[in-house]
């Protein structure tokens, strides 16, 4: 199929609305056509920009409490003799509703952060230049970041391991510049993100393993930096790379 035909289907493809047969055909086309791949990448970036900019407003805690108290429960007339039991029960209910609101908010925020990192991983790999410093030598890659990001970090010696360093680039997460390193293991590429561990988005990420958009992730903090490993390899391999980085 010609590029013009695929052009009209890119949005539906990126919105996950294309039929499975067309999706796999377009996947194949994007691997072969740099121009359509660049177009797709631009659209992904526009989607991400809107998704990030659109999450703009949070309800005040006063309003949150108001909805938790009144919004969800019908009022009932109750006899005074029940009030002795009803008051503690209502308190438990309010606490549980407020707690579940908080949990839902935290989970949604965490999932958004994971999805954004998975998007950065995919966008870099889909780019015509996935890395800006192309080197498997950690002594070349590490100094390249000097002056580009507001922190320094150490990289592990990978000799004897299955991992190869492909290079690095500067990435932005929650408006903060950080290091994006790309490693290879067999035929898989794995991203390692390093950001300063401040700001709600990064500190909100829990340490440990996670799964988002069919990618495996592992995150931890070390020396004031938040590390996140993202890839489509199995969690054991993600953990192995994490271990090497923690030991560096």
């Amino acid at each position: 199929m010609a590029c013009e035909t695929w052009h009209g289907k890119l949005d539906a493809y990126l919105d996950g609305e294309l039929e499975p047969t067309e999706t796999s055909a377009l996947n194949a086309h994007l691997r072969a056509c740099a121009s359509c791949a660049a177009d797709a990448l631009e659209r992904v970036q526009l989607k991400r920009s809107v998704a990030s900019a659109g999450r703009r407003y949070e309800p005040s805690s006063a309003f949150r409490g108001k909805i938790a108290l009144r919004g969800a429960k019908p009022r009932r007339e109750i006899g005074w003799q029940w009030s002795v039991l009803a008051v503690p029960a209502a308190l438990v209910l309010i606490v549980s509703i407020a707690g579940s609101l908080h949990l839902a908010r935290e989970n949604a925020r965490r999932q958004r952060a994971y999805s954004e990192l998975a998007d950065l991983h995919v966008a870099a790999l889909a780019s015509a230049t996935p890395v800006d410093v192309l080197s498997s030598d950690r002594h070349t890659v590490k100094p390249w970041f000097q002056g580009k990001i507001p922190f320094a970090f150490d990289l592990p010696d990978l000799q004897g391991s299955e991992f190869t360093l492909l290079g690095g680039r500067v990435a932005y997460f929650a408006q903060t510049p950080g290091a994006h390193l790309i490693y290879q293991m067999r035929k898989h590429e794995i991203s390692v993100f390093i950001f300063p561990d401040y700001g709600a988005e990064t500190t909100g990420l829990p340490s440990g393993a996670a799964h988002a958009l069919s990618f495996n992730l592992e995150s931890w903090t070390q020396d004031g930096l938040r590390y996140v490993v993202v890839g489509d390899v199995n969690p054991v391999d993600i953990e192995a790379l994490g271990k090497l980085l923690r030991g560096s």
Partner: protein
């Protein structure tokens, strides 16, 4: 019809996790904090009243958003904002061609500029972009929320994205790509 024997907590289980998202959407629609709070409160009250008639198996999230949006449109602010529009939108600014790669534009784009661009868009474009990108709704869910055919969702989204690109391009100093 909803199963009348469902425990009372079911509405809470479904509706409370949507609270933050509904507020964000309401705030974008109303552009005012207290109006957004009133709108969310009204939405929850209406949804709770209407919950017995909510059909199990249909999309609860789209149902809640539809209630919110319809409540908004029936207010004075909503009526004023939702001016009648032509699906073709002949007056939209045309996309400016440029040699700068679009990816550069978007890499440079900061959140605030995109927010300003969204603020400057007509309501029907702003809401469909938010439902698709922020709420990550399927075309079917958007169609249910906005009460429009699925085909219209696709064409309106296309025009909304085109308009957004055009607005972002205009924000670049010198009228080039980028923000």
């Amino acid at each position: 019809m909803a199963d009348q024997s469902l425990p009372a907590a079911t509405f809470d289980d479904l509706a409370l996790p949507l609270f933050d998202q509904l507020y964000n959407f309401a705030r974008w629609l109303t552009t005012d904090t207290s109006e957004a709070e009133d709108l969310v409160q009204e939405t929850y009250a209406k949804a709770l009243r209407g919950f017995p008639s909510f059909r199990a198996g249909t999309n609860f999230r789209a149902w809640m958003y539809r209630i919110l949006r319809n409540s908004f449109l029936s207010t004075r602010t909503g009526l004023k904002t939702a001016v009648a529009f032509d699906e073709e939108d002949p007056e939209l600014p045309q996309l400016v061609e440029s040699s700068t790669p679009e990816s550069l534009l978007l890499e440079q784009a900061n959140r605030q500029v995109v927010q300003q661009a969204l603020d400057g868009m007509p309501l029907h474009f702003r809401e469909i972009l938010l439902l698709c990108e922020v709420e990550e709704m399927s075309y079917q869910e958007i169609a249910e929320t906005l009460s429009i055919p699925a085909g219209t969702v696709m064409s309106r989204l296309f025009r909304a994205r085109k308009a957004l690109r055009s607005l972002l391009q205009q924000k670049l100093p010198g009228g080039r790509h980028g923000v």
